[in-house]
Amino acid sequence: MTDAKLLRFAAIVVVLTAYVFIFRAGETRIAVRLDENARIVERARAGERALASRPRLERQRAHLRERLRAVDLDVGRSALVARFLRDAARIAAAHHATIPTITAAGPQSAPAAAPSEPGDPLEAIPLEIAVEGRYADVLATMRALSAARVLAAVDVASLARKHADGADATITAALHVVLERIAPIRTTPPGPADVRAGRG
């Protein structure tokens, strides 16, 4: 091969090498960098949108808190039950019904009132309530019990005439009532090892 041919060949090799290793490789790196920039810009835009929505979110939060103030959710367990009993007596009297029995359903230990699922914000206090009165009055009492300040889920277990012979129109309704309140944040009790460490 003559020198001229060698030089021409070298020129071609340099051009091809430059294309592959400088232009193509550079394009790949630039494209990766531009993609990354686009992602950052998109995140920044999403952040700007979030910041712009802050006043709306704060209004919405205030509105939701206001809605939740219609019920007593942050009351202690005993105070909640006491308040429900007062409400139930008032409601029954207002609707010409009577409540002969209220019994707590399930075991009366604290774990019975624990949330049914982890992460459930509400803890349940189940009660069985008997309501007596005329059909319409019993139904009105049911409606009012669940709409009171104490949050109570009301369901019918049974409903029957008090006197099977139909002597009067008094109905006895057995209701499942579940009082709900915000579950307190539980801290893990110290284990035996912790107790020993505390004594030591």
Binding site: A18, I30, I40, L51, L57, Y135, D155, A160, G166
Partner: protein, 182 residues
């Protein structure tokens, strides 16, 4: 035979001095091409390096802006989560507060659907099924009651459990089961 080039060289024409030629004439064009290719490679490298540097600078500026806004964005995200939690809680509270009215309306609808000569004695809920017992003036009236209760909204079917002639009063006693929609 020796060939003589009488054409004056470029240097001789322009500066009047005949400089000795470093590169042979036949190598000039290939050498120029080689030099051109090197120059092209250099220009390409410079261009790509400049573009990459510009992209990196832009990225750094964007990242800096994003990092500066991050604490405020985190606070807004916390409010968003709070709103979602309160919204879910609000929905649940609303459902619970409607529960008594919903069940009472179902019971009222059940009573309203019964024909005039059929009476309700008791009903009992068991895992979604509602057991209904009562008294009817005639057997046909119980049939009318079944047809009517079969279309009661939360239930899909009314199943006859038993009908007996009432030994105490005139007419029949009946037992039905309303089964939920599956």
């Amino acid at each position: 035979m020796r060939r003589i080039n009488y054409l004056p060289s470029w240097s001789e024409r322009h500066i009047g001095v005949a400089l000795p030629s470093v590169v042979a004439a036949e190598l000039r064009a290939p050498l120029a091409a080689f030099a051109g290719s090197l120059a092209l490679a250099g220009v390409l490298w410079g261009m790509q390096a400049t573009r990459l540097h510009a992209a990196e600078s832009d990225g750094a500026v964007y990242a800096e802006r994003l990092a500066a806004a991050q604490p405020e964005i985190a606070r807004v995200r916390a409010i968003e989560r709070d709103v979602e939690r309160l919204d879910a809680l609000g929905d649940r509270v609303a459902t619970i507060r409607r529960s008594g009215a919903t069940r009472a309306n179902e019971m009222a609808a059940l009573g309203n659907r019964l024909p005039a000569d059929v009476w309700l004695s008791s009903l009992r809920a068991d895992r979604g099924t509602l057991a209904v017992e009562g008294h009817g003036a005639r057997l046909a009236a119980v049939g009318t009651a079944i047809a009517s209760l079969a279309t009661l909204p939360p239930y899909g079917a009314a199943r006859l459990v038993a009908v007996h002639e009432d030994p105490v009063r005139s007419g029949v006693t009946y037992a039905l089961a309303l089964e939920p929609v599956r």
